[in-house]
């Protein structure tokens, strides 16, 4: 039993314990909290103990030897921040769920299962293992939305399942392509990174990349594969939305950096422009569509399209020609954005849940003047909004500034134009978040304002740490960047092969 296996399967064991000991509602949530807290503590210890660069805490056991797929786990500067983010978000959602009243034990068990799946994905170093976790995340989230959602939850859940399942099938096709193209044939990610498959078959490599990119683009999501996201978020329970946006979307962007770029470097460089354009379109389109929303949760869902667009832009630009240091900066920004978006959007969705729990409405026009009745809620929402619009002093700026500076700083005309257009996203998100704050928090009270009460202790304890960490990263980002930067250098070197 290695320490990474412990991290991954601890939540699953806790989930089984819920049933084994037939725990009650309160005890179930507290078990969830304790298990997640323990996991967070272990991941923090792993972070402190990790002396990179390279893979740490590696495990490689036989699993399906006939296709050379192994139970291969390990962490580096790319996966550690995401593991920590996952552990923190699940802990925050556990605390938030102290207010949950419907079928609590199953809810907790499902989330613990989802935590195992998410942690497993970010630690997996084998494509089949990665795929298993990738697929299971869809299954677990389907049940979360269908079982504890609201509105048209069954419809949204089914659509979420079918759409992202289609994506994962494309991904599987791509993985099989990588397997068949490798020699000796293997699903091992480390070996596939060391000896990129299909190096001498550019046409086939392009097709495999297409399958992988489509699979990841659905999960991320990018324009035009994003339309499952708004209904899924709108009808999911708050904790489900927070995990969906905070953790599950990162599986897509993580795949770009972990799989697509280093394993198909030639094809990536060849089609980098397509990726860049998809990124730019996602940035501007996502922001503009978000601007037009009246439903609070749909609005935040669309800002995710915008924020993920910055990441896609950065990883696309990493494959272009141009200054190497600048492209490294862009990749560092992309990984930082994964963490930052998880913290800020996770907090935003939990805050949406606070409102919905009291009023059962996401319609922003029915609010107004909420700051009067719920000052602490107002403060938290304001901080999260300004973080999300990229205000310096919060993590979003650290991520986006590096992305813009890296993309434009690469020094080619095309990259400068792409970066220059994407900068507009910062202005549009500013406009939409100011509108959000005005409609919900400020001005005259609306019809539902009187129903709103301020955040309770559990909600406060759940949401504040995410925002506090966003501030820490915004003010003193070096502890995070020191971990990410070696990975960025490695990725840029791998893509340049």
């Amino acid at each position: 039993m290695t320490v990474l296996s412990l991290v991954i399967f601890l939540p699953l064991v806790a989930a089984l314990a819920l049933y084994l000991f037939r725990l009650g509602d309160r005890a179930s949530v507290w078990t969830w909290i304790v298990a997640s807290a323990a996991d967070l503590a272990i991941v923090s210890a792993l972070w402190i103990g990790y002396d990179g660069p390279g893979i740490g805490y590696e495990t490689n056991a036989r699993w399906i030897p006939s296709v050379r797929a192994g139970y291969h786990l390990g962490v580096d500067g790319l996966s550690l921040p995401l593991l920590a983010l996952t552990a923190l978000l699940f802990l925050c959602c556990a605390v938030y769920s102290l207010r949950q009243t419907r079928r609590v034990r199953t809810f907790a068990a499902l989330f613990l299962f989802l935590e195992t799946v998410s942690l497993g994905l970010f630690a997996a170093l084998d494509l089949l293992l990665f795929f298993v976790f990738f697929d299971l995340s869809i299954v677990a989230m389907y049940f979360v939305i269908a079982g504890w959602g609201h509105g048209e939850r069954l419809r949204s859940a089914l659509r979420f399942f079918l759409y992202t399942f289609f994506g994962s099938l494309a991904l599987l096709l791509g993985f099989i392509g990588l397997y068949l193209g490798s020699s000796p044939k293997t699903f091992d990610m480390v070996e596939l990174t060391r000896n990129p498959p299909l190096a001498d078959k550019p046409g086939l490599a392009g097709l495999v990349l297409l399958a992988i990119v489509v699979g990841l683009a659905v999960k991320t999501p990018t324009v035009p594969f994003h339309t499952w996201l708004p209904p899924a978020h709108t009808d999911a329970p708050a904790a489900g939305s927070a995990i969906l946006a905070g953790v599950l979307l990162k599986m897509g962007t993580y795949g770009f950096v972990r799989i697509a770029m280093p394993m198909l470097p030639d094809a990536w460089r060849e089609y980098a422009w397509v990726i860049v354009i998809v990124g730019v379109v996602s940035v501007v389109y996502g922001a503009l569509v978000a601007l037009a929303q009246r439903n609070l949760k749909r609005l935040i869902a669309y800002t995710s399209v915008n924020h993920m667009g910055y990441i896609v832009l950065a990883v696309g630009a990493a494959g272009l020609a141009g200054d190497e240091a600048a492209r490294r900066l862009a990749v560092t920004g992309a990984v930082t954005q994964m963490v930052s978006h998880g913290l800020l959007t996770g907090a935003l969705f939990l805050l949406c849940g606070v409102l919905y729990e009291r009023t059962s409405s996401y319609d922003m026009d029915e609010y107004g003047g909420v700051a009067r009745v719920a000052p602490v809620f107002a403060g938290l929402l304001a901080v999260a909004s300004f973080g999300s619009l990229g205000l310096p002093g919060l993590s979003g700026f650290i991520a986006e500034f590096q992305i813009f500076t890296g993309v434009i700083g690469a020094g080619t005309t095309g990259a400068a134009i792409a970066g220059g257009i994407s900068v507009l996203g910062v202005l549009i998100t500013a406009a939409l978040f100011l509108r959000l704050l005005q409609r919900v928090l400020l001005g005259e009270p609306g019809t539902l304002t009187a129903k709103v009460t301020d955040v309770g202790a559990a909600e406060r304890v759940a949401i504040a740490p995410m925002l506090a960490l966003a501030v820490v990263i915004g003010v003193a980002p070096r502890f995070l960047l020191d971990l990410i930067e070696p990975v960025s250098s490695a990725v840029i070197a791998l893509v340049a092969r």
Partner: protein, 612 residues
């Protein structure tokens, strides 16, 4: 010693953040704490100006960041810290216990801290961080009374307009890395073309936006929605001053590009002229002061364009003192008398003598009357300007004399039967000690700062700013501008001439409406159209695929499934029929079996014969 560079912004930042976190619990001690922090910050600013600290620290990979205090920064940190202290002191009296004082003073301290970082940053990343935080604080302060939707609208306009300009800095940072592989401000002039030009363009847009120069000026009109002390700080030593400072800081870059200096100079000169005309046409005291800020900052921007760092900086300091004073005076009148309408303020200066006198002195300085400060500082700027720019600047100066004297006339005119108090809010009829305390000090600076032009002082001033060799004003220029100012002032004061106030100037040349019609509404319309597209077309396509899948399933079950099933059924039926047939011969009677065997034998023989 580098600790001072950290401590200078950290003190107001930390105290401000703590006040914001504490919320209304800290309302009681907030004013005291803020004034104490302001005093401490001024002390640190003095220390920083003497010691000249310098720090670098890692921020992003390969792009070291830093803060340092050189001559220009030393002048700026002293100005910022002094103005902040003056305003905090005034606010301690002016912002009453009914308001959320902890939030107010917390935001003000963070606002000042952001400006302190802006003026000491040595690289674009740190500069941009402080620059944007300053914008966010101005948003929160303009929208301080957030119950009122209109004030929130104004805050939104201010933040979005300045952030639209800030995009220039984001772009410039990327281009700086492309051109110099660093973000250092000092390296910018050495960037390769075309990156150098793109950096310059980005910085110019950001600075013009922040400084409310044409065509961005309208946001400053909306910024008046905030409390008076906010205006006093925002218009003097923070926010609008930041744009002018940045242009002065990067004037070597502007110079090397060739075009940027000229563009900036004309933008500043035209703003001085156009916004001067706007100020003359205003009927509201705070709106007049706002337009005059744009115009006066225009002279600093002009200075950066023509390379008069000494003049621009002197103008910045003198204007900061004067404008801070005037806004404090206007705020005192508003709080005490409940109005800022120029025609309702008659007699205000007589009712509150100290406020009236210091306000009058400030306005005289703003008018450019000799021997007061702005007369001199403006002429140092214009001394470096070529003739066309000089002429435009001089015209701007004449307008300054007109609008300044208009204010003095309004507040010193005896109260008459038509004068009404409390047209906008309930006045307190009282100006307290805390409010009065900063006014004489600011007035003294506003009067006396003109000494920088004295022969023995101008040289050291230029050396302090690293601007030796820049032109000083000639005696003729001083006499000309001073004479014109006196003449115009006399004409306006005589009240013989009706001052024209065309609607277009009164409405700030409809710049705000233009931005709304040409930018904001089209973007919103586009957003709505895209949302429709996303819902109907993109998601419609996905739904169509799903519906298509269902339809295909139905078709399959009817058209393919039935025949296939039928085939299998048919086969079964045929087999059954054959079986029935096959059962027929099985009679169980030996003679029929024998007959069958005989027939079979005949057939066999027949086959063998035929084949054989």
């Amino acid at each position: 010693m580098s600790a001072i560079a950290w401590a200078l912004p950290a003190l107001p930042l930390v105290v401000g953040a703590l006040l914001l976190l504490a919320g209304r619990r800290a309302d009681g001690i907030a004013p005291m704490l803020a004034v104490a922090a302001g005093l401490g910050t001024l002390g640190l600013a003095v220390a920083a100006a003497v010691v000249r600290p310098d720090v670098t620290f890692p921020l992003f990979a390969g792009l070291p960041a830093g803060m340092a205090v050189d001559g220009l920064s030393a002048v700026l940190v002293l100005t910022v810290a002094s103005a902040a202290l003056a305003v905090l002191l005034f606010a301690a009296g002016d912002i009453g216990p009914d308001d959320a004082r902890a939030r107010f003073f917390g935001l003000m301290l963070v606002f000042a801290a952001a400006m302190l970082v802006t003026v000491t940053a040595t690289d674009l990343a740190v500069l941009l961080m402080a620059w944007e935080v300053m914008g966010a604080m101005s948003y929160a302060l303009i929208g301080f009374w957030w119950h009122d939707d209109e004030r929130v609208d104004s805050a939104n306009v201010a933040f979005l307009t300045t952030r639209a300009g800030d995009l220039g800095l984001y772009f410039a940072a990327g281009c700086a890395v492309a051109g110099t592989h660093s973000l250092s401000l000092d390296a910018l002039p050495h960037a390769a073309s075309p990156w150098r030009d793109l950096v310059a363009a980005g910085i110019v847009v950001a600075a013009l936006g922040k400084s409310a120069q044409l065509p961005f000026s309208f946001w400053l009109s909306r910024a008046m929605a905030g409390p008076s002390p906010v205006s006093a700080l925002l218009h003097s030593a923070t926010m609008v001053a930041a744009g002018a400072y940045l242009l002065l800081r990067v004037h070597p870059l502007l110079e090397t590009t060739g075009w940027a200096g000229t563009l900036v100079a004309w933008a500043g000169a035209l703003t001085a002229l156009v916004m001067g005309a706007v100020a003359v046409a205003q009927r509201d005291l705070k709106q007049l002061l706002a337009a005059s800020t744009c115009a006066q900052i225009g002279f600093m921007v002009l200075a950066a364009g023509v390379g008069s760092v000494a003049g621009g900086t002197a103008q910045l300091v003198a204007h900061a003192a004067v404008k801070c004073l005037l806004f404090l005076g206007a705020g005192a009148f508003l709080t005490a008398l409940g109005t800022k309408d120029l025609s309702e303020l008659h007699g205000a200066a007589r009712r509150f003598r100290l406020v009236g006198v210091t306000f009058g002195v400030g306005a005289l300085a703003l008018a450019g009357l000799p021997p007061l400060s702005i007369w001199v500082t403006k002429d140092i700027v214009l001394a470096s300007a070529p003739v066309p720019l000089y002429a435009v600047g001089l015209a701007g100066g004449i307008l300054a004399a007109a609008y300044s004297v208009k204010m003095i006339v309004a507040v010193w005119h005896p109260e008459d039967a038509l004068t009404r108090d409390d047209t906008e809010q309930r006045g307190t009829r009282h100006v307290g000690l805390a409010e009065k305390l900063p006014m004489p000090v600011l007035a003294a600076v506003g009067v006396g700062f003109g000494i920088v032009a004295l022969p023995g002082v101008l040289g050291p001033w230029q050396r302090l700013l690293g601007a030796s060799g820049e032109d000083g004003p000639t005696a003729f220029e001083l006499v000309l501008s001073g004479g014109l100012a006196v003449l115009v002032a006399a004409v306006v004061a005589s009240r013989r001439v009706r001052i024209p106030a065309p609607a277009v100037a009164r409405n700030w040349f409809y710049l705000g409406q233009a931005a709304d019609r040409l930018v904001a509404r089209p973007v919103l319309a586009l957003a709505n159209a895209l949302a429709w597209f996303d819902d109907r077309v993109l998601d419609g396509a996905v739904r169509a695929v799903a519906a298509g899948g269902r339809a295909a399933a139905t078709v399959t079950s009817r058209r393919v499934e039935f025949p296939t099933d039928g085939l299998v059924d048919g086969l079964g039926r045929s087999v059954r029929r054959l079986a029935v047939l096959a059962r027929r011969p099985q009679t169980g009677q030996v003679h029929t079996y024998y007959a069958q065997a005989a027939v079979l034998l005949v057939v066999l023989i027949f086959v063998v014969v035929l084949v054989g």
